[in-house]
Amino acid sequence: MRNTFAALAIASAALLAGCGDDDDNDMPDAGTTYMPTGTGPGTSLRCTSSNKNAWDTFGANAFVAVNKSIIAKTLAELKGISGTANLGESFTHIGDETKGPAYADDAATFEGKLAAFLVYAYGGPESIMYTDGKTYTGPQNMAAAHLGMAITNSQYDYFIANMVVPALTDNGVTSADVSSCFAPIVTDAAFKASIVGK
């Protein structure tokens, strides 16, 4: 029930935000009437299953579920026997501003910002109302957000391969759709460079 309300809240925010994006997307895909919702980097990606971008294919419910799944898998990893061995310590400092400004957000804010970023990056609106009832903004400076975290290539790869992709497939996203409308963002060299080694 809580997720349903959250999904409705996000969907409402999406509709509202969508009204403001008309100027950026006033042309449908060639030969179709499909007009993407957002303006983020993944707006132009097309899922194999639908020929629409990820947000317009899966919608708010799925984005909430995937975001919560990523958080749950990450926490399970950190609380497990391996602790921070695979993911590094960056996640453990969330909410501890004494470690640097990139860690200033508490866990709930981090989760909301991650959701907003995913929604925006994959073709959704620029801001959302998340399950905590707060509004978060999607466009974020990734380099600044990861400054001082010293995330390694191995940690990034481990996070994407063992947290993010399983979170997507666990929630019903097919391998073909993972490849076509999710992967290009997180495997993009420039995007990765904005996170790794900062």
């Binding site: 004494t98 391969a161 495997t187």
Partner: protein, 251 residues
């Protein structure tokens, strides 16, 4: 109806207790806000867990005690234990619950492998381990990071190996070899998703194949991923703590 009469002293005591409780709640609440972090840190200085000053308020970056590690193993086992015992527990040639920390470090030193002790919970992090150090396992990909965990008795309880290569072929071959070894020595996989062939992995970005092995005393997972700028193989080998017969899952 009986009427309770509070004396002035009792009323004062109750008001004082309530006041202290409200003040404590307010201070702790403030301490957990971003602006109250220095206060939380100062308070943490007197707590044993915060011996490493300025540590994570959640405590994840503090080394786990042997009891905490064992509890984490038990939680993992409860969630992932299979029904039957593994025929054997292959783990890159090491013996789970036998190989000691000293023996592994000697092996690493003898082969020029550099292992470090992470500041947090992981027990050893060995980097750049050549495939040639595992004769007989048909590995073609070098291991970029080998994360090793030991139990309270200093013996090996888990290995996580992450291998990476620019080309799909060595990673695919190593994925298939690892699964062949596991299936032959431990027993069949509980769940398989994809074959991990070069053709399959090259079908798209983040294309994965995986196999999961669940036994009463052993857990293993192999997962190969097309990362776009290369191919990554993750292998997990974990010894599960023994359980009393009455605690085993019923058939």
């Amino acid at each position: 109806m009986t009427r309770f009469v509070l004396t002035r002293a009792m009323r004062r005591a109750l008001v004082s207790i309530a006041g202290v409780a409200v003040l404590f709640t307010a201070v702790m609440g403030y301490a957990h806000t971003p602006s109250g972090r220095p206060l939380l840190k100062w308070m943490g200085m007197s707590m044993p867990q915060a011996a490493s000053a300025a540590g994570c308020p959640l405590g994840y970056d503090v080394k786990q005690s042997p009891e905490q590690k064992e509890a984490a193993r038990q939680r993992f086992a409860a969630a992932y234990r299979g029904e039957s015992a593994a025929l054997a527990r292959p783990a890159l040639g090491f013996d789970l619950e036998q190989t000691t920390r000293e023996a592994l470090l000697e092996w690493a030193q003898a082969h020029g492998v550099k292992c470090t002790v992470p500041r947090s919970q992981g027990d050893l992090d060995c980097a750049d381990v050549p495939a040639s150090l595992f004769p007989g396992l048909k590995r073609e990909a070098d291991i970029r990071n080998l994360w090793v965990t030991f139990g309270a008795d200093g013996r090996l309880v888990s290995l996580i190996a992450v291998s990476r290569a620019v080309e799909a072929a060595p990673i695919s071959a190593t994925f298939r070899a690892a699964n062949a070894t596991l299936a032959t020595l431990a027993g069949p996989a509980l769940k398989r998703d994809g074959e991990g062939s070069v053709e399959e992995l090259k079908q798209g970005l983040l294309r994965q194949a995986s196999a999961e092995y669940r036994f009463q005393d052993f857990y293993a997972l192999t997962r190969v991923t097309n990362m776009g700028d290369g191919f990554v193989l993750t292998e997990e080998y974990r010894a599960l703590p023994k359980v009393a017969a009455r605690e085993l899952p019923s058939r």
